[in-house]
Amino acid sequence: MTFLIISQILNGLGLGMLYALVGVGLTLILGVLNIPNFAHGVLYALGAYLAFTIANLTGSFYFAMFLSPLLVVLVGFLLESQGVRRLYHAHHDYQLLFLFACALIIQEIIIIIWGPIGFSLLPPPSLSGAVDLGFLIYPKYRLVLICFALFMIVCLYLFLTKTNLGAILRAGIENRDMVKVLGINVNVVFLYTFGLGAYLAGLAGALSAPIMGLTPSMGLDILPICFVVVVVAGLGSIPGAIIAGILIGLSQGAATIWFPEATNVVIYVMMGLTIIFRPQGLFGVR
């Protein structure tokens, strides 16, 4: 039983890391651009599918993990520069609808290119198999995933707190108009933010492919989870999104032990509890 609990907690942690990555991407876009990115889920799916194709073409798993999020960033740039930017002067309902339309389009393109059947992407030999932790034998890829995601989160944290661009992004979340007044080109900031958000979504998608497989509906399924992460975290809070993502992953892992059929509902139970006891979210200010 203890083995089961520990391994499920580790599973939940891995899942939570992925949720944290996607959730932070959504939070960044939400905070800086002030729009809920409805295309975030399909960017995640696109990351996974591109990684699958690149890994099959080149035979290198690591190269796929490197390249596919970057391609997703290009798609993100395209969405921002061609669509969202033209709509800044309009009401944000329309930006939302535009991204919703893009989600439909990319979703269908994924089905057209890769077909409606799911795939699985195997981790490379160096990462497959299991490691003996002494008290527990655990799949190697999942452990590496947890470590790598943690590394990425630390990098992101350092980027946001220690670099100039990071400071501008954080300032953009706090007060967008003030950033504009200080003479910073907001269009560029928005473009980079959208790109960074897309990168995180694509990376999480690519990383998730070996453990969760690829299905055309993966983008549509992850999106509500991202929004729950944002709601639990408190709107626009990046540390909140990281912690909320990990918490939700862990609670899903815990639910797998005791109520396997309720793993998807438990996310919303967490959200419900948050709204009742802390309506502004865990890290929300207002």
Binding site: L97, F98, A101, L104, N264, P279
Partner: protein, 319 residues
Amino acid sequence: MMKNKYSFIALIIFLFVGPFLFPNATIAEMLIFGIVAISTNIMLGYTGMLSFGQALFFGTSAYISGLMLLGGFPLFLAIPVATFGSFIISLFIGYFCVKREGLYFICLTFAFNQMFYFIAYVWHDVTGGEDGLVGVERPAYIDTQLTFYIFTAIMFLFAVIALYKIVTSPLGLIFKLIRENASRAEAIGYNVRFYKLISFSIASTFTGLAGSLYVLIHSMVPIDQIHWLKSGDIIFMTLFGGVGSFLGPLIGVVGYIWLSDTFSIIWARWPLIMGVIFAIVVLYFRGGVSELLENLFKKYKSISKKTEHEQNIKNRKLN
């Protein structure tokens, strides 16, 4: 007032001509989603709240009325119970959602929608899970195509008139006030949250009414009807028609359902085309169809006015 009179006349004409233009199931779907879009507009256009969770009420109510019909209850009991059910749910969910504004409101309604989706998905024994709720039968008295259409049209007219009464009542004015300036409304002494909740609740209750009718069209409730993509479609239909006028959203519904019906026969990947249309509409025709028509009308008017003005100048010069 004159404009509304004309659009109501157009509506009545549409109700008579519609069944000859579109197949039976399509026109029924148009009327039912017409109720959804017009009621959503009360919240979106009049009160200025964008909820991304309207499929929740549509789907839940469809499940309730479908289950009651399967359980042998009569239709005239199933519809009110389902509608009342979505009213209660909307009060409960609205209570938490209206506390927050803007983006947070969108996120919350969206997440609640998916919560109900998963409940329907997991609760296989009752809702049929992924297969949807099947085998619901229409009562004998609305089983023929004609009687079913008349029944839907009457329900539709009832809903439209009720919603029109709400919009033109003082309550409708308060909604508009909240949209224009919520803090001023608060200052005058209106409890903004309470009225937002009422607006949310009205929209959701009528959406629920439409959902309870939907189950009769295809004798089933597909689980898609409660998925968040449906909520997006509902928002799009409303905005596509134009939120500026009372009956505008109906144009959006007719256009949307006609287009999706047409494309879904041609190509299995029809949502791609719908997505492209969404994007084009959002980028270039933001006011929706009704505003497009209005602008054309205005342009025509201003051209005729201009020529009149030029004529006057010429006349003056001659004098």
